[in-house]
Structure formats: structure tokens, C-alpha cells
Symmetry: C2
DNA sequence: AATCAAACTTGACTGACATTCATTTTTGCG
DNA sequence: CGCAAAAATGAATGTCAGTCAAGTTTGATT
């Protein structure tokens, strides 16, 4: 929804990648994970919130189209309808903006998953469902494809935004005797990087589509349940996310 | 061996990162994975081999010092003692050069591991030992630290250069009834990305040093042996690699 | 040894940005 | 309305990655 413009690809694409950047400074504080519009004080604050959101949105659009590196700050600024210099009032650097975009994306997905799984009774199944949804999204959603190329950033954003949920689930399932995880953050770190790696390989056709299913199984193996139980867990019914 | 010069860090470091690059063309063919100096025909060919090696060496030195993005082509060319333009006769682009550097590094390590493990009798143990060695190197060797920031490239190089060995071991161990792996390339893809991710997190102090041990265990879990067997395998005696 | 074309080198130059900063505009307030 | 502080702006700066026209080297041929 909302990908209307920029139908094909600008034919004028210059295959650029990885420029150099300087050490930046900036002013405006304030986070805003986009979920929670609990009335913002003051007109300025509101405009800033709007600008920030517009920038993230514009960046998301352009970056997921041409890739993070090929996106230029000026076009992002223009699409967000602010001056080129203004971007730096909101984000320290291009990379910082990219991180914001990715975290935004991840947080949205985390919430979507949370909404479905909070009715589940088996903590293990919650984790399994989360894994599968993330991989499916990463390989299926066009908007993610280009972003996968910066895997550390992607995996990091995934770690931070979905981590609280994932780690909670890993620990719950362990308490319930379902999993055997001693260091949940470690397992989740490994999972995020593996997911991004596999997603990248699948979208590049280095791995077949079918690897996704098996990937979920292997990620479940990492939780210390055996292969058989992992297979069982992975193949259980899974409710559908209300498709994006 | 041979890291003599550049003792500390140039204090003049400019924190740069990710420039833009164009689509390149180039001429000279020829690989040369550095292992196998089987007499190269002709003076030209020899000079080219020397240049290529010098470039990879220079790039390795500088990139592992300032990071891949912050390294500039000119300084690499200068250190390798060739003209700035010459680099492009050997490598299509900066990224291409970086890939060559990483693959070189990986191949060396793969051979080192191979040399030790080809006396092992248990295929599972070979894989386990390989995993541990890679993680130890990635987190311990200073020269690797900076390179981890481009995780996709790193993981990719690892996949390609060590993959033949790793996949062979996974399959052998499976045939021997030791592991239960149906799709070895997938498992190895997941492993490489997870390894790089964990190494990155450890060198960044986001994960404790102790995570390394547990990481090996969890990677072994992915092979379909249970947690207990994984623990057992991970804790077995491991011969030392003749230290770098 | 002299000649020549092909194969290589070279480094000055170009085009592209990311980021900065002097100015201008907007706000909030007395 | 008048001001100082906070924000926005876009022209200007600095830094490369990658190109290319001109200069060298090579080895084959005479």
C-alpha cells in the first residue's frame, strides 16, 4: 500500500554504491517508533514528528527501490519535501537514516506477529511462527529485497526491534521445558544473521525457495530441541497473518 | 607475519564510509588463490601475478586497518606500488578487490584447518573443529575485526572458500550417521552468517567472549544431532592449529 | 638491432554525492 | 510589534571511485 509512484525503475539509474561520508553532528532529538501517536505537544513538535516520519517514509521508499547505497540524500529530502540540509537535523548521517528505516520496518513486523501470536498457548510455537513469518516476509516482500544487501544493519535492526519478543519467547519456552536455551540473546543473534543470510541467498537464487522451510527447522534445532521435534513444530498449522 | 609497518593507527583517520561507485570494466584475467606457485609462464604473466598479489596484500593491510569502506583505492595502489589506474586492470571495482581480499583470507584459513583435520577419523569432529577455528580466528585475529563490518561479503567469501570443505564434512558426517543434514549448503549458509554475526557482536562487546563456546554448540545443534550430543562434540579435545 | 602493434601503465581529470554552514525563515513570547 | 532562539535551507566544499588519452613495455618479425 502506498508504493504508487515510481512505477518501473528510472532508466537513468547509475549503478553507484558505497560513497564516503563524514562525521556528522545534529540537533533534533526525539525517537518515535511510529506506533503511538499520543498527541504531540506544540506545533513545532508536531511538524518535526511529521518531518521525521516523512523522511523515514521517503527513505524507505527510495532505499527499498534502488538499494540503500544507491539512494541519495537529496532525492530522499526532495521526496520528503524538505531541504537537503534539513535531513541532517533529524538524522546524523545517511547510515543513521537507513538504520531508522530498517528499525521501523522491523518494529512493524514485530507488532504484526505479536498480534497474531498472543493467543498461542505454546511458547515454542510462538517462536516458530515468528521465525517463519520473518523469513517469509524477508524473501517475499519486494520492499525488503534491496535492503538485505546491508545484512549487518538489517540483522542488527532485527535483533533490536524483534529481540525483546523473540528473547522473551525463547525464555518462556525454555521455562516451560519446551526449548533448552541457556543464552537467548546469543541464539537470537545467530538466528537474525542466519535469517538475513538465507533470505539474501534465496532472493539471489543461490538457494531454492524450498530452503525457507528447512531453514525454519534448523533455526528451531538451535533451540536445543532435537531435529524430530523441530520438524514437528515447524510443520504445525500456522495461522495466516492478515496479509500486508 | 608481515604486518610490520603501520604500527599504531594513523591519527589522521577520517571516519569515512560507503562511497558511491560506477560500473567498471577491466582486462586482465587470471585467478591465483595464492596457494600454488607452479611456475608462471612469461615475464608479463609473472609481473601480473606479482601485481595482483601485491594489490591484494596492500588492500588486506589497509582494509583490515581502517575498514573496507574507509580504505581508498589510491592508498592501496600506492602501497602496492602501482599507478592508481592500474588497480582497475586487475579488479573491476573496489568491492571486487575487497571480495578478493576476503576470499584470500578465507582460503588460507580453510587450508590451515584442512591440514589439521585430515587426520581426524570422526567426520563430525572435523566439522566441529572447523567451526571453532573459524570463530576463534574471526574474533581473535586483529586483521579480521574491521572486515566483519561488511558481513554479507565476509559470509559470502566464507561460504565459497570454505564451503567445499564444510559441505563435504557435513555430508560425510551425515553418511556416517553422525549428523542429520538434508541440505548441507543451506546449513552452511546459515552457519557462515551466524558466525560472522556472532563474531561481530563479540568484538563489539554486545556479546561476551564466552558466547563463542556456546555458539559452537548451537551451530552443531543445527546439524540435527541433539543438544546433548552437540555439547559432547563441542567439548572434546581439540588439537591446536599451529598458531598463525 | 630496428620496427611495430598489441598489451599495460599511468596519473590527471570527471562526476557524484554526503555533509557543512552562512543565511534566511519561523516560533514563542513579552 | 520586536526579538532572540530554534529550524530550515540550498549553495558550496571536500573526497573519492572510476575513466581515459597519452606514454611505456613487450616480444615477435624482419
Amino acid at each position: 500500500m502506498g508504493l504508487s509512484e515510481v512505477n518501473g525503475f528510472a532508466v537513468t539509474i547509475l549503478l553507484r554504491a558505497r560513497p564516503k561520508m563524514n562525521i556528522p553532528q545534529f540537533r533534533i532529538e526525539g525517537k518515535m517508533t511510529s506506533e503511538n501517536p499520543p498527541v504531540i505537544e506544540g506545533r513545532v513538535a508536531r511538524r518535526q514528528a511529521r518531518n521525521r516520519a516523512a523522511l523515514i517514509d521517503a527513505a524507505r521508499l527510495i532505499m527499498s527501490q534502488k538499494g540503500i547505497d544507491a539512494a541519495t540524500m537529496s532525492e530522499i529530502a526532495e521526496l520528503a519535501d524538505v531541504g537537503a540540509g534539513t535531513v541532517y537535523n533529524y538524522f546524523k548521517s545517511k547510515d543513521d537514516l537507513a538504520v531508522a528505516v530498517l528499525e521501523h520496518l522491523m518494529f512493524e513486523l514485530a507488532l504484526k506477529i505479536e498480534k497474531v501470536t498472543n493467543t498461542f498457548t505454546d511458547a515454542g510455537q510462538v517462536y516458530a511462527f515468528g521465525l517463519r513469518t520473518v523469513i517469509d516476509t524477508a524473501t517475499g516482500d519486494l520492499r525488503w529485497r534491496q535492503l538485505l544487501n546491508r545484512s549487518e544493519v538489517m540483522a542488527n535492526a532485527m535483533f533490536r526491534q524483534m529481540g525483546p519478543f523473540a528473547i522473551r519467547d525463547l525464555e518462556n519456552a525454555t521455562k516451560a521445558g519446551r526449548f533448552r536455551v541457556t543464552d537467548a540473546p546469543l541464539v537470537w543473534t545467530m538466528a537474525t544473521h542466519a535469517i538475513v543470510g538465507v533470505a539474501l541467498a534465496v532472493t539471489t537464487d543461490e538457494l531454492p525457495q524450498s530452503a525457507i522451510e528447512e531453514c525454519v527447522v534448523r533455526l528451531l534445532c538451535m533451540t536445543g530441541i532435537g531435529l524430530d521435534e523441530a520438524l514437528d513444530l515447524a510443520h504445525r498449522d500456522r495461522p495466516d497473518l492478515a496479509a500486508q
